[in-house]
């Protein structure tokens, strides 16, 4: 396709020429699907829209022409701004509008009647649009779809939702051209398959990746601590770097770490450099304020989390600092790309290990970046909980034929292998609940009509289904507001489980402020400012990355060397100390350490099998410890080790790791553990068994009349083969089990177990005590604990109850 005169002259008036990959996209305007891999700042968005602009410059178009989908609402708004300028300068008479959860109801209604030429939206808003009966009218002229940040979407159920929505659109308007825009990834072909309408082809275009990044580990006078996250020690050095650069992004792996770091940064920020904070638990108002300040250029640095991983184009960022080990080389490379959005300028980044183990991880990651050794794991077939949701969405849009719907869904790459029986089970679940006990004949959700088409039994159900569209599972969160003032200023959100542990007077950090918990009012946590107290830290559930397999193996190889000249002296000394007091893990032996800490017996298993496998190992081993009467209370897994705490200590570890025992455990552990219940809850929400939103009010875990755990237990007991139990198992296998790597580990270590019994925490074990994601084991330990505590309470009852302030306890459900 040639560039129309109008657009050519716009380029030349600007003194620009289209990049080669922009030309290439134009040439492939008629291809059914194209995936463009380009670094940030490479004119990627314009490349995606150029065929649309060319088309619209040639001839006017009535109604919707191009749909743009991105994972971020903010990105949709940002693209709207950035696209309007060239469109106006070229002189195209078209409307560009966004449609997200934030769009007003009036605007949304108007868009359905009179859609713009270009609509910018999110997967959830698009899925909702396809659920309306008038969807065919709205989408009738649609020609193109641009999916931005597809590398991020392809890793999540949001992407599966999007592809099922595109499959539905395809039945309304066949032949829509699909374009995917992606950052650098290790397996572009997998994303191409994900994007294309199955079985159509999808060409992969790679833009010039630009010069290699300028990346190093930050050197500090202060040594990294033995343990801990957050990188507080590096604050003076980081402030120096902020001063030397225009705008610095300071990435953290978790929200809690970002909050704590931000707090400490301001205590040290004597020159009062303008520095903000941005993460997903902050209120929309708070985030927008920071984003606006960033666009204005009035900030020198932002402390942030993965919420800034994606797209908004802030051209002046000239340094990215990653605090904490990067965990995953591909994500690191993508984050580094956030600096220097100008095409062909090298990105500059600094890694700040939070503790000494992370020094090892950072050094390994630097080597991997230099060798361009990216990592990633395939995702397997499309998840069926999302499929269930889309069957309900299809029913909202109108009566459907089951065979046609089956074919439509299989045109999404991730679902191309879907068996008829699997689809049928999902349809039955949506229609009747899918129970072995056919109890809901009168109250079926979907009914088959005489003409063979399926429809909603009660059309009013459509409203409830639409209210629950989406696959994003926030843990149940509560809004935090300042007390007083009209309604109180919103500060952000905390997890409900965290809020439940607060008693009035407790302090925690949110949005960089220390606040005091005053009380709970109508599902809102009311707080007051408390600038000078020492905070407890909010247990935000931040995104938690697993260190990739490849990076883990690099580290293990490093351990096997005699010495580590490439490591800083302190880390070298630390590893040597570990070698002295215990030993360093080896690839062909299994190191197990036992020592007391926190009044509990601790056991550390250095399996180096990756986080998921180590988590499964935690489940299996704690189960065996329960059988042995050791009273396991919980465990936490990292990529390299599993830490288990229990009432009694492990004296003979070998039987815990027998292959037969572990396999037996795998058969039965699916029953009744917390990870399965968590997985079930998510799938039950997505598949529509549990409605998070109802026309009355949002339901929260605690307000619900009973918990999803009870539903899980009931199904396990009476209907263990129910489709949702199958889905839960599928999900657990794909995400959380990874038994294959446990077997690989067992094969590798054989019966060579080194058990070290020590009097205190070892250097290598220390960081494990700070890991988030602790999994409680609810067994005998609970009963013993309750007996102990009940006895203590009874002994003291009446003596310390009266008028004495209760001792504040920091309590968590694990």
């Amino acid at each position: 396709m040639e560039l129309p005169e109008k657009i050519e002259s716009w380029f030349s008036a600007k003194g620009w020429a289209p990049h080669p990959h922009q030309r290439a996209m134009l040439e492939r305007a008629e291809a059914p699907a194209t995936l463009l891999i380009a670094p940030t700042g490479g004119g990627k968005t314009l490349a995606g829209f150029l065929p649309t602009l060319a088309d619209l410059a040639r001839a006017p178009h009535e109604g919707l022409h191009t749909l743009y989908v991105s994972p971020l609402k903010a990105l949709a708004a940002d693209i709207k701004r950035n696209l309007r300028t060239p469109v106006e300068e070229i002189g195209l008479d078209i409307r560009i509008e966004d449609r997200t959860g934030d769009t007003t109801a009036t605007q949304k209604k108007r868009q359905r009647v009179d859609p713009p030429q270009i609509l910018l939206t999110t997967p959830e808003s698009l899925a909702l649009l396809t659920s309306y009966e008038d969807a065919p009218r709205m989408f009738q002229g649609l020609k193109r779809i641009v999916v931005d940040e597809i590398h991020a979407l392809s890793e999540s159920k949001r992407g599966d939702q999007l592809m099922l929505a595109l499959a539905a659109l395809e039945t309304i308007v066949p032949g829509i051209r699909r374009v995917g825009l992606s950052a650098t990834v290790e397996d572009p072909e997998a994303i191409a398959t994900f994007l294309a309408k199955h079985p159509e082809p999808c060409e992969v275009l790679a833009a010039d990746p630009g010069p290699p990044a300028d990346i190093a580990m930050l050197e500090t006078d202060e040594l990294p601590p033995w343990a801990g996250g957050g990188g507080k020690y590096a604050i003076p050095a980081i402030l120096e770097e902020v001063k030397k650069h225009k705008i610095t992004l300071i990435f953290h792996n978790t929200r809690a770490q970002a909050e704590l770091f931000f707090h400490n940064l301001w205590l040290a920020n004597e020159e009062a450099l303008p520095i903000g904070i941005h993460h997903g638990s902050l209120s929309k108002e708070q985030r927008q304020k920071v984003e606006a300040a960033m666009v204005e250029g009035s900030l020198r640095a932002i402390v942030c989390t993965g919420s800034l991983d994606l797209g908004i184009d802030w051209g002046d960022v000239d340094l990215v600092i990653q605090v904490g080990a990067p965990k995953n080389v591909k994500r690191l490379v993508q984050r580094i790309g956030r600096a220097n959005h100008r095409y062909n300028a090298p990105s500059k980044a600094l890694l700040v290990p939070a503790n000494r183990f992370e020094v090892v991880e950072c050094i390994a990651a630097l080597a991997a970046v230099a060798e361009h050794d990216l990592d990633g794991d395939g995702r397997g077939p499309g998840p069926r909980d999302v499929l269930c949701q889309h069957i309900l969405i299809a029913a909202c849009a109108g009566p459907f034929d089951e065979m046609a719907l089956y074919d439509q869904m299989r045109s999404a790459g991730a679902f191309s292998g879907l068996a008829w029986e699997e689809f049928e089970a999902c349809l039955d679940f949506c229609a009747t609940g899918g129970y072995a006990l056919r109890a809901y004949d009168r109250w079926q959700r979907l009914k088959k009509r005489e003409d063979g088409l399926w429809e909603l039994r009660d059309p009013r159900a459509a409203q409830r289904i639409r209210m629950n569209i989406g696959t994003i599972q926030d843990t149940d969160t509560l809004k935090v507001r300042l007390k007083n003032r009209g309604g109180g200023k919103p500060l952000g959100e905390v997890e409900e489980g965290f809020a439940a542990t607060l008693t009035p007077g407790d302090t925690f950090l949110i949005g960089g402020q220390i606040v005091r918990y005053e009380g709970l009012r109508e599902m809102t946590v009311e707080v007051t400012r408390r600038a000078f107290d020492k905070p407890k830290i909010a247990t935000f559930l931040g995104t938690k990355f697993a260190t990739s397999t490849r990076l883990t193996h690099r580290i293990l190889r490093m351990f096997q060397e005699d010495d580590w000249p490439e490591l800083p002296g302190h880390t070298r000394d630390w590893l040597k100390l570990q070698r002295e007091v215990s030993k360093l893990p080896e690839a062909d032996r299994l190191l197990v350490e036992s020592f007391p800490h926190d009044g509990r017996a601790q056991t550390v298993i250095y399996g180096f099998a990756g986080r998921n496998a180590m988590q499964t190992l935690g489940l299996l081993v704690t189960q065996r410890m329960e059988e042995a009467g050791l009273g396991p209370m919980g465990f936490v897994a990292t990529d390299y080790a599993t830490l288990i705490w229990s009432l009694d200590s492990v004296t003979e570890p070998a039987p815990l790791f027998s292959r037969e025992g572990l396999v037996d455990g795998l058969e039965t552990w699916l029953a009744g553990n917390a990870v399965m219940k968590r997985t079930f809850k998510v799938s039950a929400n997505i598949a529509g068994l549990i409605e998070r939103n109802s026309p009355q009010s949002r339901k929260t875990g605690r307000q619900a009349t009973f918990s999803s755990d009870i539903l899980y237990d009931t199904l396990l007991k009476y209907d263990p083969d129910h489709v949702l139990m199958q889905i839960t198992r599928e999900e657990a296998t794909r995400g959380l089990v990874d038994f294959g790597r446990i077997e690989e580990m067992l094969e590798r270590v054989g019966d060579r177990i080194d058990h070290r019994v020590l009097s205190r925490v070892t250097p290598l074990a220390a960081p494990l005590f700070l890991e988030a994601g602790r999994v409680p084991v609810k067994g005998l330990a609970d009963e013993r604990l309750m007996a102990e505590e009940a006895e203590r309470l009874m002994e003291t009852a009446g003596l310390d109850e009266i008028d004495q302030p209760k001792e504040k306890r920091w309590a968590v459900p694990f």
């Binding site: 109250w443 159900a461 409830r464 926190d598 068994l689 009963e783 013993r784 007996a787 009446g798 309590a811």
Partner: protein
């Protein structure tokens, strides 16, 4: 402080300090002796002179009268939810509740069963029980005195065997669905109390009995039931200072009622 103590715990009569038979002490000792099956699944205490057993299952037993009391069965709840909201929860809660009730009846050999109200999630739910569940219920009723106390969910008689009463008085005890201010010797349900315990840094939440010298508030027995925290103002104003909570689950555990 000492004065406050005297006010809150007049003498040794506070149930939490152990009654005449020192039942609380007995239960605590038994809780640490995990192996003794017969002692860990119930807590014995007395209310206005009647010796009662709070069972770990959430049922209450009155040995002198061979009477088993359960509250808030909410039978047919999943059917009611389906009817009202369209959500189709696993429809097994009725049989789960009945099978637990059957086991409590078998273990206590109770001759009288009192269901303290909200036995059915509503009257239509009572009619929605399937044939197997109806027969099961009839089997449990056979050869026993069975009393349905009216609840707020199921006022008025339903077409099952047994006696239907607004409330029941036996000896010094009075059985009703919702606790009344100022009552003595009262056994009620309705609130579904639950309590939290902090132990070595872990929070454990369990459905619980609440009792003081005047009354017992029972946990919900039905499978699909949630709970109201014991520190809720409604429960606080009903229960006297010094009230106990008996946590249910695998075993009973007695603690001062968390407020």
């Amino acid at each position: 402080m000492v004065r406050g103590f005297d006010l809150a715990f007049p003498g040794s009569s506070s149930p939490c300090r152990g009654g005449d038979d020192d039942a609380a002490r007995f239960a605590l000792d038994s809780a640490s002796a995990l192996s003794e099956e017969h002692t860990m699944n119930r807590h014995e205490f007395s209310l206005v002179g009647a010796a009662l057993e709070a069972r770990a299952t959430g049922a209450l037993y009155w040995p002198a009268e061979h009477m088993l009391i359960v509250s808030d069965l909410h039978l047919g709840k999943s059917a009611r939810i389906a009817r009202r909201t369209g959500a189709m929860f696993p429809p097994y809660e009725t049989r789960d509740t009945l099978s637990r009730l059957e086991s409590d009846i078998a273990q206590t050999e109770a001759k009288t069963i009192v269901c303290l109200g909200d036995s059915f999630d509503d009257l239509a739910a009572a009619q929605s029980l399937d044939e197997e569940e109806r027969l099961w219920l009839a089997r449990l009723q056979a050869g026993r005195r069975w009393i349905w106390i009216e609840g707020n969910h199921d006022p008025g008689p339903v077409d099952f065997g047994g006696t239907h009463l607004a409330e029941l008085a036996t000896g010094a005890l009075i059985f009703r669905h919702i606790a009344e201010e100022g009552a003595t010797g009262e056994i009620s349900g309705h609130y579904h109390p639950k309590a939290r315990l902090h132990a070595r840094g872990r929070v454990i939440t369990r459905a619980c009995f609440l009792y003081d010298e005047a009354r017992v508030i029972m946990p919900a027995y039905g499978t699909y039931t949630g709970g109201l925290r014991s520190d809720d103002v409604a429960l606080n104003s009903l229960m006297q200072p010094g009230a106990c909570a008996v946590l249910t689950g695998k075993q009973t555990h007695v603690i001062p009622m968390p407020r």
